[in-house]
Amino acid sequence: MHRSRERSRTSRRSIRAMGVMAAAVLAVTASLAGCSSTGGKRAEEARQQAASGKANVTTPRWKFAMVTHSGDGDTYWDIVQEGARQAAAKDNIEFLYSHDKEAGRQAQLVQTAIDKKVDGLIVTLAKPDAMKSVVKRAVKAGIPVITINSGQEVSRAFGALTHIGQDETVAGEAVGRELNERGKKKALCILHEQGNVGHEQRCDGVKKTFDGKVENLYVDGTNMPGVKSSVEAKLQSDKKVDTVVTLGAPFAATAAEAKKEAGSDAEVDTFDLNAKVASGLKDGTIGFAVDQQPYLQGYEAVDLLWLHRYNADMLGGGKPVLTGPQILTKKDAGKLEKLTERGTR
């Protein structure tokens, strides 16, 4: 028991040491005199025009749930949610969002939504087999279902009203054609998640239409220095590569960095969009981006569910609604920059 006293004494001493250190560091930072006159939140606020979200309809407050296969911390799904929330605000909808990258757990989340007796369900079908029974159960329970993003081929069969998204293979093919137009000879397709079906489809799509050679490179998306050095290593070992295609927006800037470091003059192109990609398009470090308009996927899904409940409408007569691929280049960059920073593109 006195041993614990000894311990607490040493701990207290450590705490005191910590305190002194903390004070020292604070003093240092304070003496650097605080503020930045450029950038930051203040600049953002100055830019921002408030987008009002007031309901404009008289329908009762329905409850819609969205369940996606997003992993933790994927910026893409932030934009989808942003679109869904804005549509929900406009349509007087209570919007619920949940996600899990494991299909089994995603199915369980759908089940909880069914148990909550939601008035509409939006779901992604990244691994259709695992989702099949639970989606059918929702349909059977009388809940209108719209699938988004992935699962175009099976959406109908599962009983969904429609599918909103971009066919990954088609998007890849668009990239292949664009590369042909730019006269490229050898492309590197950077997959940042091993075993992701959608990623494989994108690269396969590129392969299908591109006249040059395509090589896949797998990297660990949770380790940026790892991504950078792998791309660098590949570019150093294969000087014939004249194009790097990344499958996610956050990796485009890293690939551009790696290319610079490796002294390669390959062009960096990417799937998806974010603020850094937009500024990259503008200053020419990124050639083009293929966007599938995530905002639209979220917004339209909620809005179409509302239209369906309110007026039994279905856009496109139940045929898949495509939100991409849309090729974005330098000439789009100007207006995109503002939108990406707002978090809607």
């Binding site: 006195h2 041993r3 000894e6």
Partner: protein, 269 residues
């Protein structure tokens, strides 16, 4: 270190280095020790004997500062004390050598020798261990105890059990301990190795240290002991000077005394 030891040597024989009187210790409701008295004089070996669970290790923990007593008095050189930590015990001149946790097996001998009391040179961020001195001192101190190590850099775990105990004893002597507490130093050793360790114990005594030797081996105790304290189920079963006690009697007491007679009665066919 030597200065300290020599200063303390001419102490009046009647003032014990350590004196426990009526010491008790409770763990919650469990009585671990009750009314124990014990004295340690310089240049003498006090043996504490007892069966497993007799309270030997609790007694050690009190003397070495790991635990505190709940009743009775604990005096160090006549001054009543309550030790707060092993460090405090060390600073008061009480060094304890434990049976199995005497050393860190993977560390070199010289690092073990100075562990917790490393001499340093330099200042500020350049303050560093005086490795040369540490190596040399370790070697010479061990030689003084009669241990010739070819290499003080070898992990201490590669030494034999007796050698390890001896290093720990040499360390205590080097750091100017006045009281050396030895917890079952011969328990895990063979006859030959036990002899080695007992020689170092005697050497420490001759250097003027007061020694507390905890053991359950009456033969070893009787070889070196000057005083014997017998523990039984947390209480004192007896306290004898060497002159008062024959080895046979000690063995008999240790083997269970009257209980043994009963047992032999029961076992007789």
């Amino acid at each position: 270190m030597s200065d300290r030891k020599h200063e303390d040597l001419p102490m009046p024989e009647d003032l014990p280095l350590v004196e426990l009187s009526g010491v008790s210790k409770f763990y919650g409701n469990i009585k671990a020790l009750e009314d124990i008295s014990l004295t340690v004089h310089p240049g003498r070996i006090t043996c504490v004997l007892g069966d497993n669970g007799a309270g030997k290790s609790t007694l050690i923990k009190i003397v070495s500062g790991l635990h505190q007593h709940d009743a009775g008095t604990f005096r160090i050189q006549g001054e009543e004390t309550r030790l707060g930590s092993p460090r405090e015990a060390l600073d008061r001149g009480i060094a304890t050598v434990y049976q199995d946790l005497a050393v860190v097996p993977l560390m070199p001998v010289w690092r073990n020798f100075f562990l917790g009391s490393e001499p340093t040179v330099g200042w500020g961020p350049l303050r560093r261990m005086d490795v040369r001195t540490m190596r040399r001192t370790t070697r010479s101190e061990l030689l003084r105890m009669g241990i010739d190590l070819r290499d003080v850099d070898q992990p201490i775990g590669t030494l034999s059990g007796g050698e390890r105990q001896s290093v720990a004893i040499a360390r205590a002597v080097h750091f100017g301990a006045k009281v050396l507490v030895l917890d079952e130093p011969t328990a895990a050793l063979g006859v030959k190795q036990s002899g080695v360790v007992l020689k170092y114990v005697a050497a420490a005594r001759d250097a003027g240290l007061g020694v507390v030797l905890i053991t359950h081996n009456p033969h070893h105790a009787h070889l070196v002991g000057d005083r014997f304290v017998l523990l039984k189920r947390g209480t004192m079963a007896g306290s004898y000077e060497k002159a008062e006690l024959e080895l046979d009697e000690l063995v008999r007491q240790m083997a269970g005394g009257s209980e043994l007679e009963e047992l032999s009665h029961e076992l007789r066919r």
